[in-house]
């Protein structure tokens, strides 16, 4: 198990390196300099002297190879560069907002798990029932809904009409502010979890070893507790891992909608003003986060399924 763990953790490193290179390439192929784009809003006239100074300051006038070298050596020292706008280290900007993002993502995933898994389970145990049909209609609707639109509607109903919850912002970090964004963000993973749990449980229920379990004289409850739950868990864990990726992506939109001070809204704001070091850094941190979660999922998976460790 230890060797498996180490190997799995080491596998992350090349992916991170390639992603870092990819990000550098993407942001280097653009024609023109970034300093020019700082003036692209049209409010300030593009002053050539100013642009030259900015290019000098951020090292953009140097040749590509040199810039690449700086990027790589800085990265190796966990230096993500300096923001064009605020001139603060990117890593600090991200660090300040990481907590809020984690809070939101975890809350959303918990919400999805707590509701989605039991729903999928119950639906699979009674296929064709009203609950099953309702769950499946709900799931496909949840997957088809633009999350930010659902967020808007929830905001309209619970914050503006009923006045139960604050409509946006982080407030003093209390639960009240978290509820609406977390529910909004959790809807898609909830729908997908309900669906995969149902499919997974149905698959397990059709397996030969379930017939064996019944032939031993077990009650349906015991069959589910002793033989179905653990086997279905494998699929659920995998889904959670995969869903975290799109959840982090969607979080960008939801954080913006609810003015939530996480790295998602930082990313959107930085894209809008083309603050490239911040964009690069944020994306890298998001990818790293996603990879860490996936590695954790693989390790949990191996702990549940004895067949994995063997290989």
């Amino acid at each position: 198990m230890l060797r498996f763990t180490l190997r799995r953790i080491l596998q992350v490193i090349p992916t991170v390196v390639v992603v870092a290179l990819l990000i550098f390439v993407i942001f280097s192929v653009v024609p023109g300099t970034f300093a020019a784009s700082l003036f692209a809003d049209g409010k300030h006239a593009a002053d050539p002297q100013m642009m030259a100074r900015l290019n000098e300051e951020f090292g953009l006038s140097k040749p590509l190879a040199e810039r690449f070298w700086t990027y790589v050596t800085d990265l190796a020292q966990f230096d993500l560069g300096t923001s064009f706008r605020t001139r603060q280290p990117v890593i600090d900007l991200i660090g300040d907002r990481m907590g809020a993002s984690l809070q939101l993502a975890i809350a959303a995933m918990l919400f999805a798990l707590v509701i989605g898994v039991p729903l999928g389970f119950l639906a699979a145990l009674r296929p064709g029932s009203v609950l099953d049909t309702a769950t499946m209609i709900g799931a496909v609707s949840g997957l088809s809904m633009p999350q930010f639109w659902l967020g808007l509607l929830l905001m309209y109903l619970f914050a503006l009409q009923l006045n139960w919850l604050p409509s946006f912002g982080y407030g003093d970090g209390s639960l009240q502010n978290l509820i609406l964004p977390a529910i909004t963000l959790g809807v898609t993973p909830l729908a997908l979890l309900a669906r995969t749990t149902r499919a997974g449980v149905l698959d397990v229920l059709n397996a030969d070893f379930i017939r064996t379990a019944h032939s031993k004289g077990m009650s349906k409850m015991k069959v589910v507790r002793w033989h179905v739950a653990r086997n279905a868990l494998v699929l659920i864990v995998t889904t959670v891992g995969l869903q975290f990726g799109s959840l982090i992506g969607q979080a960008v939109v939801i954080e913006k909608l609810f003015a939530w001070p996480g790295i998602g809204s930082l990313l959107v704001d930085s894209v809008a003003i083309r603050d490239i070091p911040v964009v690069q850094g944020t994306i890298l941190v998001i990818v790293l986060w996603f990879l860490i979660i996936n590695t954790a999922v693989d390790l949990i998976y191996a702990a549940i399924d004895p067949r994995i460790k063997q290989e």
Binding site: T212, K216, H227, Q310
Partner: protein, 302 residues
Amino acid sequence: MTAPLLDIRDLILGVALGRSVRPLLKGISFQIMPGEAYGLVGESGSGKSLTSLAVMGLLKKPLAVSGGEILFKGKNLLALPQREMRNLRGNRIAMIFQEPMTALNPLSTIGRQIAEMFVLHQGKGWDEAGKLAVEALANVRVPNPDRRARNYPHQMSGGLRQRVMIAMALACNPDLLIADEPTTALDVTVQAEVLRLIKELCSERGTAVLFISHDLGVIASTCQRVGVMYAGCLVEENETQALFADPKHEYTRGLLGALPRLGSRSLHGRQRLVDIDSIIADRSKLTETRFIAPRGTEGRQP
């Protein structure tokens, strides 16, 4: 005369297709005495396995019994409440399935899966049940039972897994063991061992066996009596010896003809194996009086 252990009377079973019910077993009757080994043979789809699942009460929708009785020690299993049926299942009537590769839960140790039997039917705690499971493994002659009990199914060979299934089925000393093609999925060399194990253990303990197979050789070596099934009917039933010596039904003759025999050279040279037309007869065209469709066993007419 002793009372039969299992007495199946005119069992009718069908699959619901929309509003109509299509019969798959059309009134099966046979009896198994305590301690007796009874064989059911027939081609795939003839209803052998359906019969065994009906006895176990494991039929799944849309399959359902629509008539007849299954008496076990005089009690009709079909009328038994769920809870009582569960107490019989595994405990008094146990079953071994065809696929040892998939019949065990891959995520659970085999010790635990055997131990479940003792927890379910003998009210044991997990610790004691675990020890009993090791004993059960030793009884089916699994080497290193202590270590094997901690293994997962994927760490074992097919033959070993089938032994685990046997250990599990016999854990509570059932009165009846149903073995549904227990050796079909195994290597030929392992087949004989597993068969011998079932035979020996059951005769030691006085367990009756309902043996289901499409392989007449297997049946001949294990069973005292044989029933031949075809298209949902029991077409012939006899002592094993007698059936082989003097098959009455056209289909049985066909089955026997398809069996290769050592030293079966006649005066006219080597006897040819007879081939039952491999297409299963279209059941919708079968009538009460004519169970078996004409097949080209005698060579095709021009």
